[in-house]
Structures are given as structure tokens and as C-alpha cells.
């Protein structure tokens, strides 16, 4: 047989062995990683609402920046009291992931950054920065206040994109007009 072909086959076998090994490791670590991400989200939800009083229903949405929505229904009255959106929009370095909580009267209850890799010292202020929209109706983003500094406009845009996506989507989940 051709020598080059055998070399190629050796490489193929090595690739298969390595692939198998990776699949095995992934089999053990993937559930842990998923649980961790969920735990972070639930802990963040806890900040806005006392999750003991609500049943949380997750629906996958794929509209703009929105990845998923969590419908919070009152346990006793079964009325939909709030929707929390999990969004992911492109910032400067990577995706900026947010949770945005909207009450049933369309006011912005709060928001929280779950993950970001923005510029250290500038864009990463996104975690603590007050975008000055809490308490507003979601239709009213005029008071939105971004971060300033090099690369920060990209970060700010990611947050704004997330809010805009929620603005576009919120009627579908809460029903009615803003």
C-alpha cells in the first residue's frame, strides 16, 4: 500500500481515539456544566422575585437577542405576574448575556448580567452600571444611559439590543398593548 495513505490512516485512527476520549469526558462534564448555568440563572431570578411563590415555566424563544423566557405564575391565583427574559447579544469581545425581568404591568423590574467578557475596567462595568431604566415601562427606553469609554459603545449596544428585543417580544407573552 501507498505509504502516504498509511500515514493518513494512522492519523485517522488517532483522531478517532481522541474523539472517543473527548466524547467520554464530555459525557461526564456536560450535565454538570448545564446544571451550573441553570443554577446561576435561578439564583439571579431569586434576586427579582421570591421564586417560592411562583411556578416558573421556561419557554424557548428565538427572537433577536432573546434566547428563553421564564413565565412566573402566582402559585395561588395562577395569574401570570412577570416574565423574565434571558438574552444574549454581541458586545465587543463576546456575547453579553442578560436577564431582564418585566412585571405584568410592563414595568422593568430589573436586569442582571449573567456572563460577559468585555474590556477589563471599561466594558466590564456593565455588571454594576445603572442603565437608568429600572421602573420604566419597557416601551420607554428614552432614559437609557450607556457606559462610556473605548469599546464601551459596543457593550452598551449589546445591552440596548437586549432591551429592544424584549420590547418587541413582550406583547406576545403578556398579551395586549403597551
Amino acid at each position: 500500500m501507498n505509504k502516504g495513505l498509511i500515514s493518513g490512516l494512522v492519523l485517522l485512527v488517532l483522531g478517532l481515539v481522541c474523539g472517543l476520549l473527548l466524547a467520554t469526558v464530555n459525557y461526564f462534564t456536560a450535565p454538570i456544566i448545564r446544571d451550573q448555568e441553570l443554577a446561576v440563572k435561578l439564583a439571579a431570578l431569586e434576586e427579582f422575585y421570591d421564586t417560592d411563590n411562583y411556578t416558573v415555566e421556561e419557554i424557548t424563544v428565538n427572537e433577536g437577542a432573546i434566547e428563553a423566557a421564564y413565565l412566573l405564575k402566582n402559585k395561588t391565583t395562577d395569574a401570570l405576574e412577570a416574565v423574565v427574559y434571558s438574552t444574549s447579544a454581541q458586545g465587543y469581545e463576546d456575547k453579553v448575556k442578560l436577564l431582564i425581568a418585566i412585571d405584568s404591568d410592563y414595568t422593568i423590574r430589573g436586569y442582571k448580567v449573567i456572563s460577559q467578557k468585555e474590556t477589563k475596567g471599561i466594558g466590564d462595568q456593565v455588571v454594576t452600571h445603572d442603565f437608568n431604566v429600572t421602573g420604566n415601562l419597557i416601551s420607554d427606553l428614552a432614559s437609557f444611559d450607556g457606559i462610556s469609554g473605548p469599546t464601551a459603545p459596543f457593550t452598551t449596544q449589546a445591552v440596548l439590543d437586549s432591551f429592544m428585543a424584549v420590547q418587541a417580544r413582550v406583547n406576545t407573552d403578556l398579551g395586549g398593548d403597551v
Binding site: 500515514s7 494512522v10 476520549l21 469526558v25 454538570i32 477589563k120
Partner: protein
């Protein structure tokens, strides 16, 4: 070269960062805190030791080596990439904070020239045991270098030393005593280059001084 030499040469004589000046990109980017340096060092230690072992295992078999020779670079990359991916997945599962602060530099270990360099220059021509010792020594030397840079940068830049997680030493009192603020610049890329430059200069000054002394002694005799 005996086994002890193989192990020890990575510390000073052939230190990958300070002497060969290899793999600078991740080294300068992640050395913002001691914790990052230790985490990166541990990841490189695991990958370098195992990749050296596996590659020398493949290459020390004469028949296999001949077959692998024309495709050896892809073979190295496959081995190294698999190991790095394992490190990445394990770190994501069990050390989430470290995973997030090292960020993109964990997957980039794949193309770290220290690892590829040792595979080509040492592991492919030596026995598995020697290669493992070489890998360990090089990784420890690399970690040591990272620790030195990160200590300089973290103390000057943030006024603290983060050993692991919440275990940190706050040096704020020293800065208060001197009535100065930590220099934020040192946590940024410019600080990385400056610290690295000054450390390199110090090391070269010491070694030059030693070499001069030796030369004088030889002349005097």
C-alpha cells in the same frame, strides 16, 4: 544529559518564558492575578506532561515513527488539542470562576509554542520517561515565570495577592502608608509589557554580571 538535568533545565537554564521567550501572548494576557497564573500553570502542566509522554510514546516506536513522520505536525496537534479540550471541559465543570477569568486562553493552549516546541524539539527524539520529566520541568518553569510576573502586576496594579478564590492578601495598608493608589495601568496590557520587560532586564543583568565575573576570574588565572 541525565534525568535530573532534563527536569531542572526548564527552571532556569532553558526557562520557556524568560530565556526562550516563547508563548508570550497568553502569558502577558492572563497574569493579572496570582490565581490566574497558578490556574494557567496547572493547565499547561497537565497538557505539556501528557502530550510529551504520548508523543514520545508514538515516536519511540521505530515502525510507527516512520509512518507518522510525514504527518507528525497534525498528529501533535490532534494529541495536544484533545488534551486541552479535556482540560477546558473539566475546568468549566469544576472550576467555573477560573474558567471565566482565563477565558479564551485555555483553548489557545493548543497553539502555545511551548507545547508544540517541546513536542518537536524534545519528545519526538527522547524516551517517554525523559520526555515526561522535561515536560514537568518546563511546565513548572513556565508556572514560576507566570507567578513572578503576576505578583508584580497584581501587587502594583491592584494592591492585593489573590492566592486562590477568597484566600487573598490585601496590601491596601501598605499603599495607605505610602499615601499612593495602586497603579491601575499594571492590570492593563501596557503594564504587562512593562513588567515583563523589567523582569527580563533584571534577569539578564544578573546573568551578565555573573558571566563577566567568571570571565575575569578566568583571565586572572
Amino acid at each position: 544529559m541525565n534525568k535530573l538535568d532534563n527536569f531542572l533545565k526548564g527552571f532556569l537554564k532553558e526557562n520557556p518564558l524568560f530565556v526562550s521567550v516563547l508563548g508570550m501572548c497568553p502569558s502577558l494576557a492572563i497574569t493579572t492575578s496570582l490565581e490566574n497564573a497558578l490556574g494557567m500553570g496547572a493547565a499547561v502542566f497537565f497538557v505539556l506532561t501528557l502530550s510529551n509522554f504520548i508523543i514520545s510514546l508514538i515516536m519511540s516506536n521505530k515502525k510507527l515513527a516512520e509512518l507518522v513522520k510525514p504527518v507528525r505536525i497534525p498528529v501533535y496537534i490532534v494529541v495536544i488539542a484533545s488534551l486541552v479540550t479535556i482540560v477546558e471541559m473539566v475546568m468549566h465543570a469544576f472550576l467555573i470562576n477560573l474558567y471565566e477569568s482565563l477565558g479564551v486562553f485555555i483553548p489557545l493552549i493548543v497553539v502555545n509554542c511551548i507545547i508544540l516546541g517541546r513536542a518537536e524539539a524534545f519528545a519526538s527524539e527522547n524516551k517517554p520517561l525523559d520526555s515526561v520529566l522535561d515536560g514537568m520541568g518546563m511546565a513548572l518553569g513556565y508556572t514560576g515565570a507566570l507567578v513572578i510576573i503576576s505578583l508584580v502586576r497584581e501587587i502594583l496594579g491592584q494592591g492585593s495577592i489573590t492566592i486562590w478564590g477568597n484566600l487573598a492578601i490585601d496590601l491596601g495598608f501598605a499603599f495607605d502608608f505610602l499615601k499612593i493608589q495602586p497603579l491601575d495601568m499594571f492590570t492593563k496590557p501596557v503594564g504587562a509589557f512593562m513588567s515583563f520587560g523589567f523582569i527580563l532586564a533584571t534577569i539578564f543583568a544578573i546573568s551578565n554580571h555573573k558571566a563577566n565575573k567568571k570571565a575575569k576570574e578566568v583571565k586572572g588565572q
